[in-house]
Assembly symmetry: D2
């Protein structure tokens, strides 16, 4: 069976997902697209041999030949499309952020609860990364004892031009926040953010930042975000347990010895680092969506990540620790 | 466009390739299968929603709706199917060995030459491994100077029950022989094999072996095959140039610190180690076959690998260095 | 020339230093010892072929045949001996803490200033560690750009029985505080301490702790102290610059591959990890003391480390960031 | 007690050993020197505050105030000095080669046997290297099963001007031959040498070479010598057992991340790489010699190493495997 997918929003990320669904992975077909810029939508559809172009996402989602939805439109529009998909009873893959307001976040949880089972999968691809999975398994096997701390490091060579002051929290640290929850199996209760002297290469952006997030268990999560560090894209992580630690290993294809040194490669950017994770994420989604469901990160995960990053933005401004207030976790996500 | 593929020989490897072509990768469909054991063929076909079952591979290859052929039958039968595919002008992916006799090997080269362009791709998946590719690129960039030696290490935790004395050369070292040619861009001229004291865990198999292969340039390739080493599947390689070296890096998802040690994982077996390479190999084949051609390792590569391993088997018995005699390389493979 | 040394306080550390001065390194001789426990002093002296035993350290320091002094007595008594040595114009090596009161700390600085040149060397052996030296040189060469952060990790398998709540700051983190100053060439201005959920293996001790120290330049130093982590003694450090990072490498003699894993050793305890640093520290001291001076960490370094750790203890209790107030740096230490 | 040492031959190596005995390590004093070039001997002695200068080594060795002898004269003269020391009943440390003729080698064994206990220590410093010791211990603990192969790699950035064709065997591979015997606890029985295409940077020297040495147990030792490889001084080694392997770990103080790569340092030359081993070697010798004996590598080890390298030189010329004939091992070395 081939999953018929519509893609709402065909900018850079949307096109990348289309490429993965049609040229890389088995099991899916993109039957329609939609974009605020209809000219772009037409160009993308033309490449897809007969994909329809719709003016509005909602209409598209309702279409009969549509099995499932990918939402990669502008962040503020995500919630409406996700809710439309839930109401149509169709599986929906939604990129971060799931929602940008408190009301929208809760509305999605409510809609999914009303539907009665999971339809929403959020694009936290790290949860499909073999390294983070091995990290979680190591903890679950009890190999390092109960977790006490998690040190996460998130480094980009540079940030894009549109990157604003607090995006190091909402767009960068959000990944570390989500993966810390995943790896530790724990929920955040408070967050504080420290801003050291700024990197002179990063005008107008709070960079680097050092975030401390308290978890319900008492574990402490620390997050370094360095988004202008020049040398590459480098994702590090270490969990400190009562009797041992587990950390992400370095990755390089080869080690070269020349001129008095051995050396290996650091990734240039995230599409390369997480390419296998993106494949695993969409493979899981295609299989789950074909059965009418979802895999991996849920609407609840999107809800908590948003709560934590918004508290983080507040903490950066206030200079003190801010609480992260979460509604009770719906039974659907137990 | 979807490539319609027939698979000749649906044993373990054949089924694995079918799974990859139908469940993992985009762009292909398995429309028919054939196997010496027709009962197995029927079971496999049944899983493929309407795939035809043919009694004989040749008939299958000729079928109208067949775009391309995968040959994973018993080794002795490979050549006949490959030649049938070439005569039908259809792209053919053939597992190792391409042929088992001198006559067959040459017949394939002649058939392809007669057809006038490449149709044959041999299953040397290492050539699609990101690590070996990085190794080759490092040399090509001149980073380590001209190559003088290549040390290849091929270790298996254990060998299957049917593994015979000389299969450590024909089935194991064959990969190292091919990848050395690929990485160095060089051809072998002679081979010698040394057998140290045998591993007591490896009854009846020549294990370990240490092979020395002379290349046309004067470079020396050394190959350790240890096929009963218990600890895991470990593929190592280092090229020694005039001013530096390049070697395959260790691979592990995480590093764990417990009990006075840090540790990382070694692969258990080859399907896991080379899974991304197999994906890349078939992705390249699907794209090339859809255009009527082939990618990566050619019939010439299959020819040379066979020549070298047969000389290796002779050298193991004779105890002296044996020449590897190659016919002139056809222009097709220049 | 052989340096005639007296050792004041011959407990565990004192005896270890005597062993190093007499059995390992060239250039020194221990001519006298003193200890609060005179019986112990006599036993130690007896092993030293004619070393004198003095009742009180001050008397000893004044003795004519004494060239230089090693102070390894109980912490509270350090300052008095150090000042006695300065007054006698004799080089003095003093273990941490240099002093335990504000008055004593300043008195030492004043005494040395009055004498007019450096006589005091504090036992911060990490400054002689080849790894930290390479780290500092990397920064000084400009290889990673200006430092923005330093992540220091200090882990012990377990802490001794007498270890009290705040010793993770005064005895453990003190090393990280000093080495951060050394590596960054920067001074601390404030300190905050976070206590995650306690390690259940560490009854009565604040463990782990996570300390944040602000430096004058705006750089942020973070220090994880985990003093009951079971797996070994592990000292990690990474400096984050504007364009790169430098971190302490793993150390192991060999890598072993068995049972599906590769593994290396983690140190069991600090005497082993820092043995070469202790040798380098005392070699530098013997040479400097023979010329009437001192090498490496100065009284000023002892002064600042004490100021920072006392502020750290206060911060642990207060839960907020505490300032580190330093007097002006005397010209002697410029 | 201080060991009174005479040094016979005060060229570069002799002076280096004098420096280590007098400025670095406790327990020894150099009381006299001798050299073929008496002017050099006088200069060196002058630095040693009253060391005597003797015209001939033998006279020196007999001198009353001499406790022990270090032989670092020209290779051809070693045997005579070693035998003189044995006859005088004095411990003697002798640099490689112990002897250069068959007769001399045997004469030393006979002299020591006649004396009745070990007096001779050969300068195979690798046996005091913590890494090789850990390698041997790993095997002895049974962690990797019985050894089947040892791959040794010996790389120099460049070789000195006086380096002749076969010195890659007699001066370079000799270390690998000795350490293989030490690590495996095994004796060599035959040797073959392969010369790949020469490094164009190494005019007149057989470089690289690839040596295969058969051991009595059936284990195979392979030795790569690359003495013009430019990138640094790199000593690698891996023992392959029946169930696992153990290899020398990389060594670097720090790991630097800049410009898309992580990197660590490779040693520039052997004095740096083996400095701790030289210290351990002489510390062991001082302690053993003070008791009238010797530590570590014996005259037997010198004898076997010479036998193997001479067979290796023959094998390089003959192109075939040459036997290594050893006399029976005297009981003294059991």
């Amino acid at each position: 069976m081939t999953l018929n997918v519509v893609v709402v929003g065909v900018g850079k990320i949307g096109q990348e997902h289309i490429r993965r669904l049609t040229e890389t992975l088995a099991g899916a077909r993109v039957v329609a697209v939609s974009d605020a810029d209809s000219a772009v939508a037409k160009v993308v559809a033309a490449r897809l041999q007969g994909a329809a172009v719709y003016a509005a996402g909602e209409e598209l989602i309702a279409a009969k030949d549509v099995d499932a939805v990918v939402v990669t439109s502008w962040g503020d529009t995500h919630a409406a499309y996700v809710i439309a998909a839930i109401r149509a009873g169709k599986p929906v893959f939604c990129e971060k952020p799931m929602a940008t307001t408190e009301a929208d976040r809760s509305a999605i949880l409510d809609a999914e609860a009303a539907f009665g089972r999971r339809l929403v999968q959020i694009g936290f691809m790290r949860r499909f990364d073999a390294r983070y999975r091995a990290m979680k398994e190591t903890i679950q096997k009890g190999a390092i004892g109960s977790p006490l701390m998690f040190h996460s490091v998130h480094r980009n060579a540079s940030s894009p031009g549109h990157f604003k002051a607090t995006m190091a929290i909402t767009d960068t640290a959000v990944h570390d926040i989500d993966i810390a929850r995943f790896v530790l199996g724990d929920e955040p209760i408070a967050i504080a953010v420290r801003a050291p002297r700024g990197n002179t290469r990063a005008a107008g952006v709070a960079d680097p930042l050092f975030t401390l997030m308290d978890m319900r268990s008492g574990a402490l999560v620390t997050i370094e975000t360095s988004v202008h560090i020049a040398y590459g894209y480098d994702i590090r992580g270490e969990v400190i347990g009562e009797t041992g630690t587990v950390s992400l290993a370095e990755q390089t294809e080869v080690v070269i010895k020349t001129n008095g040194a051995f050396s290996g490669r650091v990734f240039a950017d995230w599409p390369e680092r997480f390419d296998p994770a993106f494949n695993a994420e969409f493979r899981a989604w295609i299989i789950a969506a074909a059965k009418g469901g979802a895999a991996g990160p849920s609407a609840w995960d999107g809800y908590v990540a948003t709560a934590a990053t918004l508290a983080g933005v507040k903490a950066l401004k206030s200079g003190v620790r801010e609480p992260i207030n979460l509604r009770d976790k719906p039974a659907l996500y137990a």
